[in-house]
Amino acid sequence: MVLKIDMSGETPIYIQLRNEIVKGIGRGELAAGENLPTVRQLASELGVNTMTVSKAYQLLKSEEFIETDRRKGAAVKPAQSMGGPAAAGYREHLEDELELLSAEAKLRGLKREEFLRLCEDAFAEMGV
């Protein structure tokens, strides 16, 4: 999977990294069990501090998207293992985010159908 990071963007790099990896897992570009680069390797490839990558990996681990092993490094968790404690509060979080997105879409002049179609297209990209 190719991670694309906007180094001069406003979103912190570790958040961009987290988002790119989650999108990759969702789209199936990163398969369950697939290894991710080590913190040092990814930091060196991106030209960023190892702490930035470490922070992104810790976030992904706390959200149960990846698992880390001292010897094997970081790997994508199997889908069935992603329904742990982090998933419990997800619906509430999603409703919150959708409310915000809907409000922004309305204020920017998007029609309901257009908004729903965009949601559908984005979901279709995940192969479901």
């Binding site: 999977m1 190719v2 991670l3 694309k4 990071i5 906007d6 180094m7 001069s8 990759g24 570009e29 990163l30 290894n35 991710l36 680069p37 390797q41 990814l42 060196s44 490839e45 991106l46 030209g47 960023v48 501090n49």
Partner: protein, 475 residues
Amino acid sequence: MFMFVLFAMIDLVIVGIFYAVYGTKRKYSEGMLLGVHLPQSAAESEEVTAFMERYRRNTKIFYAVNVVISTAVCAFCFWYISVFMTVWSVWLLEFCVGAMALLYGNHRKLYDMKVEKGWIGSGGSRIMAVDTKAAVQSGRMGLSPWWHLLFCALILMPCIDTDIRKYLMTSDDGWIFPVTGILVSLTFGILHIAILRMRNKVYSEDSDLNVEVNRMQKNVWSWALAGSSLFNVAAYLVVVSGIDETGWISTGVLVIYSIIETIPGFFLIGGFFYMRSRKEKLLQKNVRPLYIDDDVYWKNGWYSNPNDKRLMVQDWACSWNYTTNMAKPAGKIFMFLAIVFVAVCLVWGCVEMWKIDFVPIEVNPTGTQLEITSGYSDYEIAYDDITGVELLDSLPDDDYRRINGGADQHKMMGRFKGEKTGKCRMYLYVGYTPVLEIMTEDGPVYVNSRDVQETEEWMREIMQQVQPAPFGKTH
């Protein structure tokens, strides 16, 4: 004549390599033309085609003119070497600066044209991209650099032999070959490590293709460097096996050594061209190209990106080269020091050669010792260490090999080793006689002056300072 031919060949190789690396970047490839990301339609537009045609013509003129100038400069070889080296250094400077200015200047013009016309974003323009699959497999690409340690061990292996160990420990210049061999192998090893740690490049949305291209490049480089290191060892082993009982290395062995030592050059240049053609072939399969448009950081020809924490990055003009990130103070300091270092080396080298050519040889007997001064080095001999003095009609007939200093058609200066004479020192104007031979426990010292009477005067002055019994023979 040998020097003329040698330097003419060297100049041709320098100009040829520069042309191949910097003068042929005229094809649209990997979404770029002359290092500037452009959509293919823009690269094929009338304006850009005309611009590239002008650039092609100017490049050909520049390189052709420099071939002629460099050959003409070599004619100075027939005069003083110091004059030749000074003129040659000035030419080299002009050539390097000119080649870079030609490339960077046109790169900047094309970049300005792109910005003016709004040709931005030839394909998913992002600042940084990393292929996770290529990054994960990075550690498994290429040959292990540990091989170079084995090669260094092979260089040390002949030391097991008592005679060789004795030669290396007792000979003044015996250490040169093993130390050079080890340093060369270690340099190849360091380059090997640097290449394996090189950031993987993203060419495509297809991870398998990215892995294939990056693996191929690291494999080719690591094999080329390991092969180069191996031949460096082979060259050293040839020399060691050719040392005779007296510690003499024949000219034939040295010729074989030189030939084997040039093979790494062919490995590296061959590897570069093989890698380039393989990469082109592999990228023809690229149906989902991904171009990272970071032109804004390269617009002046050098890299300047404050968001990138790396100090050294791969150069856009030549994937062999690394350049510094000029947005970082350390990058600016490194570049400044590198330029100063090269300038000082060139100036220092030329000054030393001028001294060798134009500072006269002098012999000054003082109260306790004899001082020989020259443009290369000074040498003091205590009168007690002098075991004999003689005026010779000519330098003893022998096969002399220079260890340091300089030797050309005008003079022989520095430390030498003769097959029969052994180690000796020379402060001689070639073609002038007589030659004053001063025997010491460290071997003979040969000195002369362009003026016959001055040489004879030196002889008389030395004779006055030392005991007359074993001395005083003149021819």
